[in-house]
Amino acid sequence: MNYFNFPLEDVTNDFVNNWLLPNFSGFFDEISVILRSFVDSVTNVLIATPAEVIALIFVLLAWWISGKGVAFFAVIGFLFIGSIDLWDESMQTLAIVIVSTVISIIFGVPVGILSATNSIIDKIVRPVLDFMQTLPIFVYLIPSILLFGLGGVPAVIATFVFAAPPAVRMTSLGIKQVPEEVVEASRAYGSTPKQLLLKVQLPLAMPTIMAGVNQTIMLALSMAVVASMIGAPGLGSTVLTGISQVNVGLGLTGGLAIVVLAILLDRITQGITKKV
């Protein structure tokens, strides 16, 4: 089948090493610095705050948004994480999840809005999202390390690539699902495109957008172990250590802590979805 010799490997390496890195390393360094300070400050706040305070905030939040059951689960969950001595690791993982989710929303929601309202942008965005979701994670871990070094920053980038698509897709879906007559009514009364977006489309799309955010958070958590492979601290690295030492118990504690965080974040964000 080798009719045309297509040296994709060489071309790519040549592109990255001889063009991208020399010309844009400064740019990537800047992004790296900004992201690092973002990740570090969130991590520092989470770790510096007494565990009891954070646990209390989460329990109250869970109670207010999702009710007694989830609040009870939060109490048990945090007691569990504290008791297996993985509090700091959990906070490090949580920090990366928070930062990647925030970045995913900052990029994802506007792109989703644009692709809902502009069919050309939609045609471009769709295959890009497919690519982001299906390309094996390790394929873009390599360039992330090359461009951003080791640690939390490439982890955030890789997590963003994997977790942002649902935010885009669900935003777009939510806006497209706003009933045509409601949009027509708003236009008929003389709304500007901005008024239409802020007063009609976004409020009505909000439950769907929140469902997208919920998915983004879940996917970001599921990246925790992979992120640790490129040096991100947290529960992922606990699991990795467990694997490399064939330490079943250590692997399980790290894994269960991730599950606890996942369930808690899922229930709280689902509660928000129902509230809006």
């Binding site: 409601v182 009514a185 008929a188 009364y189 003389g190 500007t192 007063k199 009609v200 409020p203 009505l204």
Partner: protein, 398 residues
């Protein structure tokens, strides 16, 4: 000046509408255009105008292009060619800001499926148009509360649309349209989604509000009875073209083609047409101030044996016969004292069916009086001719 004037308005849906337009101008039919290019002619060369204060109904079956047509009027859909003048200004040529301004100030729309904002209360839905204009909260809520009361929804201000029945939701839609204070109401199948009793109620409500507010209404419907009931004039649409424009009477009497007559043949005219359809506009009237001399001359001019008397505001006073007028003039009796006392009075929404009974007893033309004002005159001939024609049609169909 006409409130709305539509000239040669055409809409072709598809990838290259201008090509389709060229084909249409070269005389190709819609079917040919659809077959050759895959493009649909939604509205083809529509021409009509709506006068101030008129209810103009566009009637057609689904797919006839009537919903497209009304959306071309406020440019929710951009036209392919033609002009739409709103108060003399062509909306198809307006820039974005001017278009938004025109929609805000001059055009209000009521939708078949209501188009209410589900996340807002009744009050905030009704005030929405004013909110878009940037009017402050207090003023817009005051105005909204007033129209909510006008449409009979007082007490529901803080309910959400989903808590209301269909009829009440459409009242909210109507209130939203009225709050904007625009002269023109566009009503797209506004009552079609309601069940028959509520629909009739809303039709009466519209007529009541129309009498009070004198809006210019462009009303879309697929229901002939509704068209006949509401319309001052009706345009009948088929396959994107307007096939006939006329008053309900004209459409019943002289259907322009087989399509229209197939529509109207089953109408029981006596139960559909009301006095307002058969009545004549009272053109020759006298006031007390005119005096008996003028009254006699006016009657002689038109060859009538009696004349209606009104005051300056057209409030109905009575009927004066020529004999009484001459007698009174000679004897110096004031006009007030010689008016005929047993003149028959009816209102403009009395159906022909009921009018027959009144006409049988009446010696003089029947005065159509609404809220004290003389709005028309019904002669026996016009009622009977309507009914006879209706009977003939029934025999044909049997």
């Amino acid at each position: 000046m006409n409130k709305i004037e539509v000239k040669n308005l055409t809409k072709i849906f598809g990838s290259h509408p201008q090509q389709g337009l060229k084909r249409m101008n070269n005389g190709e039919t819609k079917e040919e255009i659809l077959k050759k290019t895959g493009m649909t002619v939604g509205v083809s060369q529509a021409n009509f105008s709506v006068k101030p204060g008129e209810i103009f109904v566009i009637m057609g079956l689904s797919g006839s292009g009537k919903s497209t047509l009304i959306r071309l009027v406020n440019r929710l859909i951009d036209s392919t060619s033609g002009e739409v003048y709103i108060d003399g200004e062509d909306i198809t040529q307006m820039n974005k800001n001017k278009l938004i301004e025109t929609r805000r100030k001059k055009l209000a729309m009521v939708f078949q499926k209501f188009g209410l904002l589900p996340h807002r209360t009744v009050l905030n839905n009704v005030a929405y148009g004013l909110e878009l204009q940037g009017i402050n909260k207090q003023e817009r809520e005051e105005r909204a509360e007033k129209t909510i009361a006008d449409v009979g929804l007082k007490g529901y201000e803080s309910s959400y649309p989903s808590q209301l029945s269909g009829g009440m939701q459409q009242r909210v839609g109507l209130a939203r349209a009225l709050t904007n204070d625009s002269d023109i109401l566009l009503m797209d199948e506004a009552f079609s989604a309601l069940d028959p009793i509520i629909r009739k109620e809303m039709q009466d409500e519209l007529i009541r509000l129309q009498n009070k507010l004198e809006k210019t209404v462009l009303f879309i419907t697929h229901d002939l009875d509704e068209a006949l009931k509401l319309g001052d004039r009706i345009a009948i649409m088929k396959d994107g073209e307007i096939v006939q424009i006329g008053t309900p009477e004209e459409i019943l009497e002289n259907p322009a083609n087989d399509y229209v007559s197939s529509f109207v043949k089953d109408v029981d005219r006596s139960k559909v047409l009301d006095a307002s359809v058969v009545m004549k506009k009272p053109e020759v009237l006298v006031t007390y101030k005119d005096g008996l001399r003028v009254a006699v001359r006016k009657m002689e001019d038109v060859g009538a044996s009696s004349i209606f008397v009104v005051d300056k505001e057209k409030n109905f006073k009575g009927l004066l016969t020529i004999d009484d007028a001459i007698r009174a003039y000679k004897e110096g009796i004031p006009m007030e004292d010689v008016l005929v006392d047993n003149v028959s009075i009816t209102s403009s929404d009395t159906l022909l069916n009921d009018l027959v009974g009144i006409a049988a007893e009446a010696k003089y033309p029947i005065a159509v009086v609404d809220e004290g004002k003389l709005s028309g005159i019904v002669s026996r001939v016009s009622i009977l001719s309507g009914l006879v024609l209706g009977k003939e049609r029934e025999e044909e169909t049997e």
